[in-house]
Symmetry: C2
Subunit: 314 residues, 2 copies
């Protein structure tokens, strides 16, 4: 059902990491025109491996919105095969970061175009056009960024931490290299300043959303939009739906709850959307000056996802 009421026809900007953001964008696409959605996407996870530039969050969102994502694996493309990786493994190459044969085509395409001088923004738009994705996916920056982890095993790159060690390692701190000098992309800046609403997706606050906020003046741009900022808690009843957000909040000194997430974001959020299982925390958040909406935030069922989307837009 596409709602075309004027109040819902304005541009919605969504600060986005990977899976959680992809699901929210998919849900929002079910209740407003996808062309009215702008996702400002984290690129701190991006990596160069085998000479290829890989953008996990951009790809997760594009694959999900185009219906190409692999539901069984929870990442990558469906109908995938692994001929290249199997052969690379046999050669003794770096095969821990699994790149499927279909998925590799995306990275070959991107790497070639970047080598020709295209920006990540342009390449993403080209890929989305091919995939039939109408939501505008906007890398927060076209400059290089790298989220790195200070851990019990020493400094790890994002994918070493996340994939190689399956985020099963104690983290002392997170740093986004390049954030200080990276420029906000024109598309991201436009979306952040002109959107009717700025939504913080239920992505990992510490390692997906914060690397977006650290680029240039993004944090102050979002803070300036406080009344229009709606954040969806990625923590439900003390646990992350997926990934290490719960563990990281605890390790970095925050409460493992929607309150801890609210503490992390601080005063930039006007409205918090928290899960029914966390209704007990609503008053705490209101006392800190936030509006609070309590609803189902799990998006596994379409009806629930659309209800959440309508709450975000309400």
């Amino acid at each position: 059902m596409i709602v075309t009421a004027p109040s819902l026809s304005k541009v919605i900007c969504v600060l986005s990491g990977g899976v959680g953001a992809a699901r929210l964008l998919q849900a929002l696409s079910g209740v407003i025109e996808p062309r009215e959605l702008r996702a400002v996407v984290n690129v701190g996870d991006d990596l160069v491996l085998h000479g290829l530039t890989i953008c996990p969050d951009l790809d997760t969102i594009a694959y999900t919105l185009s219906g190409r994502h692999n539901d069984v694996l929870g990442w990558g493309l469906k109908d995938e095969s692994w001929r290249v990786m199997d052969e690379l493994d046999a050669l003794g190459g770096e095969a821990w970061f699994r790149l499927g044969d279909r998925d590799l085509a995306t990275h070959l395409y991107r790497s070639q175009r970047l080598g020709e001088g295209a920006t990540k923004t342009i390449v993403t738009a080209e890929l989305c056009a091919k995939f039939g994705v109408d939501v505008a996916l906007l890398p927060v920056s076209d400059d290089p960024l790298a989220t790195v982890f200070d851990t019990e095993l020493g400094t790890l790159s994002f994918q070493e931490y996340f994939v190689r060690h399956r985020h099963d390692v104690v983290v002392h701190g997170v740093k986004v290299e390049g954030a200080a000098s990276a420029r906000v992309s024109a598309g991201a800046r436009d979306a952040l300043t002109t959107a009717a609403r700025v939504v913080i997706a239920p992505s990992n606050p510490l390692i997906s959303i914060d690397p977006i906020l650290q680029v240039g003046d993004v944090r102050s741009l979002v803070r300036g939009r406080r009344d229009d900022v709606v954040a969806v808690s990625p923590i439900i009843a003390g646990a992350a739906v997926k990934g290490p957000a719960d563990r990281l909040l605890g390790e970095l000194g925050y409460a493992v709850s929607c309150v801890g997430v609210a503490d992390f974001y601080g005063d930039m959020v006007g409205t918090w959307i928290i899960d029914e299982h966390d209704a007990e925390h609503a008053d705490t958040l209101r006392e800190r000056g936030h509006r609070v909406i309590v609803t189902t935030t799990l998006m596994h069922e379409t009806a629930n996802a659309h209800r959440l989307a309508r709450a975000v837009l309400s």
Copy 2:
């Protein structure tokens, strides 16, 4: 049959392009210990595509010597599949340079290792160890080189000329960019100076062997070994066995025969090995100061290939 007579046990250095050199090296491996063979290999065809560094001549030789080459296609690996290329084609990517799924693993491996700071020499040795290739494959240089073509369609890169236009275009000249500043690799220099014999493979003189000769002091090194230099003519009865050597010789002003090839190389060759079909040219070559051996130079049958190999070593 492995001949271990002392006179044949010394190191043989083979200036090598792609297919013709691969076949000669395979033939030589049948009559002397592969470990005594050093191939100094052209890297002027190497390219960066999709962010991947691809070395067609090194790969053709490694694949051939390890029995992995695709005899049906005449290039690449056997048991190949094309999932990545098909997908890249669907994305509108640069799919004219066909890279099979198995083949891609080689390029991913190489690109990753080069990115880590390994030289082309080292990466080639690593791949050869994995492939079980005992012949030492030595890139003539670890520095970047690019053979480019001045054609009726303007300037073309090697693979644009060779693959994209299937070498069906008029060539006015050939240039090797980077040759003046490229340094001869230590392995190549050692092979060129210490080998008992320097063999010029029946590769394309103008676009496979000449880019080797243009690097640093390789031409003068080979010239200094004149008495030990044996060249196998790639032209048989006025035609190249494979590729555009015949056409290029004509377009660039040389006779389309073993005599034209001898004119092109000039005084650096001590001994010419020409095909039985070209016996008429033997006297002309002798008048120019070359020793001449007339034999079967086609290597499709193993017996013929080994006969040629023994002529090269005689």
